[in-house]
Amino acid sequence: MSANSIAQALLRPFTRRARRLRREWDKVLLAVLGLLVFFLLWHEAAVLADEPALPTPGKVLEALRDSFDEPPAGFYDPWTMQEHVYQSLKKIASSALVAIALAVPLGLLLGFSPRAEAFLAVPLELVRPIPPIAWLAFAIAILTTGMDVLFIISLGIFFPVFLNTLDGVKKVDRMLIDAAETLGARRTQVFYKVIFPATMPQTMTGVRVGVGVGWMTIVAAEMLGVRDGGLGWMIWTHGQLDDYDTMFAGMLMLGITSFLIARGLIALERWLQR
C-alpha cells in the first residue's frame, strides 16, 4: 500500500461528509436567498402601494425590535413582545395537551374497532369541516373566560391528531401483531406494546399539523376577553389602533414562532424514531 493510497483511504470519509455538507450548505444558501427575495418583493409592493396598512419590511422590523424593549402602546397594550409570545405559547401548549389527550385514545379506539368507527365516524365527519372560528359565539356564551380560548384552539388541533392516529392504526403491519401474538403477547399487550408505538410517528405528524392549525386560530381565539396578552390579541388590538407597523411585527413574530415550533417537533419526531 503506497503512502498515497493510505492517505486516500483515510480521507475518504471526510470527503464524503464534505460532499454532504456542501449539499446542506446549498440548501441553507437557497433558503436565505428565498427570504431575501421575499423581503425585496414585499418592500417594492409597500413602496408602490404607499399605504399605511402595508408598511415596508424595514418599518416592521424596526417596530419588532422596539416591541421587545417596551410595550408598544402603553395603555392599550401594556405587554412586551416576549410576554405576548409566552402567553400564546402557553395557550397553544395547553390546548395541544387537551386535544392530544382526547384525539389519541379516540383515534386508537376507532382504528382498532370497526364497530366503534361505524358508530362515530359520521358525527365526527360532520363536525370536522366546521372552522373553529364558527364556534366563537358558542364558546363565549357557554364557557368561562380562558376555557373558551382553550376550546377554540383545541378544536383546530384535535382533528389532525385524531385523523392521523386513526390512519396510523389502520396501517400497522398485520405481521407485527402476528409476531407479538406468537411471542406470547395478550390483547392488551399487543395494544400498548405494538399498535401504540407503531402509530406514534403518524400521531406526531398529526400533532405538528394540528399545532400549525392551532396558530391559525389564535387571532380569533384571543379576541375573546384576554387578560394577559398574546400574539393574536396583540395583532387584533394594534389593527384596531391603526398601528400597522406593530400589527405586522406581531404577524411576523407569529410566523417565526410557529416555524420554530414546527422545526422543534420535526426534531422530536426524528429523535423518537431513532
Binding site: 405481521m175 402476528d178 401474538e181 408505538p197
Partner: protein, 280 residues
C-alpha cells in the same frame, strides 16, 4: 448410491421417537371471501416428533403458509385439529415460535429489545431477560449490534434477530415461514448453515416451509411434499444424508430429483386448475 439408504443420520433415528410435538389430524381449512369459498387445505395429517427438522415443500399459493399459521394458532382449522404435545391448539402461544419471511421485527426496538419482547410480555424479571438475550445475541452472532435498530441491518442479520427473538422464548417448536425467501443466494446458503448449527446446538423441533426443493433437501430430516391447492400430503421423503450435506453429491441429486418430480406434477395440476376455475 449407498449413502441414500444406509447412512445413519441422527434425524432418521429421531423420527422414530414416540411423542409427537406437533400433530395434525384431518385438518381442512376454507376461507370465505365475497361469497366465494376457497379451500386452502384438505384432509391434512402429519406427525412431527421431538427434535425433528421437517420441511413442507409446495408450489406458491398451495396453502403451506396456512398450514403453518394453523400450527402457530394464528388460524383455526375448519375441520380437524392440530395438537401440540397432545393438547389441541386454540390460539397463538409462546410455546410455538414463528419466524416470518418479512422478518416482522419491531422497527422502534433495538436488536436486544426485539429479542427480549417475548420475555417482556411474559413478565420475566429484567436481569434474567438481559441474561437470556445476551446468550441469544451470541448464539446468532449479533454481538456488537445489540443497540442497532432493524433498519440499520442487512436482511440476513435481520433474520438472525428474528431467529433469536423466537428462540429466546425457549419454544417447543420453531415454525419458519419461508424465512430465507427474501435473501440473496449467498446469504441464504449461509443462513441455512447457521440454522443447522443452531438446530444441532438447541435440539429444537423445526417446521420449515419453503418452495425451494434444494433448500429442503439441504436442511430436512423429512420432506413433506404438498399437493396443489387445496394442500394435502402428496408424498413424504426421508433424507438420510449425513450433515453437512454436499449439494454436488449424486445422493443429494437423487433425492432432489425425486422431490422435484412430485412437486412438478403438482405445479402442473395447479396451473391446470387456474386455467379452468371451478374445477377442483
Amino acid at each position: 448410491m449407498s449413502g441414500v439408504d444406509v447412512a445413519v443420520s441422527k434425524g432418521g433415528a429421531r423420527s422414530t421417537a414416540a411423542t409427537p410435538v406437533i400433530e395434525a389430524r384431518g385438518v381442512s381449512k376454507s376461507f370465505e371471501r365475497d361469497d366465494r369459498i376457497t379451500e386452502a387445505v384438505r384432509d391434512f395429517a402429519l406427525s412431527i416428533t421431538e427434535g425433528e427438522l421437517v420441511c413442507l415443500v409446495g408450489s406458491s399459493g398451495c396453502g403451506k403458509t396456512t398450514l403453518l399459521r394453523m400450527m402457530a394458532g394464528l388460524e383455526r382449522p375448519t375441520t380437524g385439529e392440530v395438537l401440540i404435545r397432545g393438547r389441541p391448539i386454540d390460539g397463538p402461544g409462546a410455546d410455538r415460535g414463528m419466524i416470518f419471511q418479512s422478518f416482522a421485527l419491531f422497527p422502534w426496538r433495538s436488536v436486544r429489545r426485539n429479542i427480549e419482547f417475548g420475555l417482556e410480555v411474559r413478565r420475566v424479571p429484567k436481569e434474567e431477560r438481559h441474561r437470556i438475550s445476551d446468550r441469544h445475541i451470541d448464539l446468532v452472532g449479533l454481538r456488537g449490534f445489540e443497540h442497532a435498530h432493524p433498519r440499520e441491518l442487512s436482511g440476513g442479520m435481520q433474520q438472525r434477530v428474528g431467529l433469536a427473538r423466537a428462540l429466546a422464548n425457549d419454544p417447543a417448536v420453531l415454525l419458519m415461514d419461508e424465512p430465507f425467501g427474501s435473501l440473496d443466494a449467498q446469504t441464504r446458503n449461509l443462513m441455512q448453515l447457521e440454522l443447522l448449527r443452531i438446530w444441532q446446538g438447541t435440539r429444537k423441533t423445526v417446521v420449515f416451509v419453503t418452495h425451494s426443493v434444494d433448500e429442503s433437501v439441504f436442511l430436512a430430516d423429512r420432506i413433506v411434499v404438498l399437493t396443489a391447492r387445496p394442500a394435502s400430503v402428496k408424498s413424504v421423503v426421508e433424507v438420510a444424508l449425513p450433515r453437512p450435506r454436499d449439494r454436488a453429491s449424486p445422493e443429494f441429486a437423487a433425492i432432489r430429483h425425486r422431490v422435484l418430480q412430485d412437486l412438478t406434477e403438482e405445479v402442473l395440476k395447479g396451473m391446470a386448475q387456474q386455467d379452468r376455475p371451478g374445477v377442483a
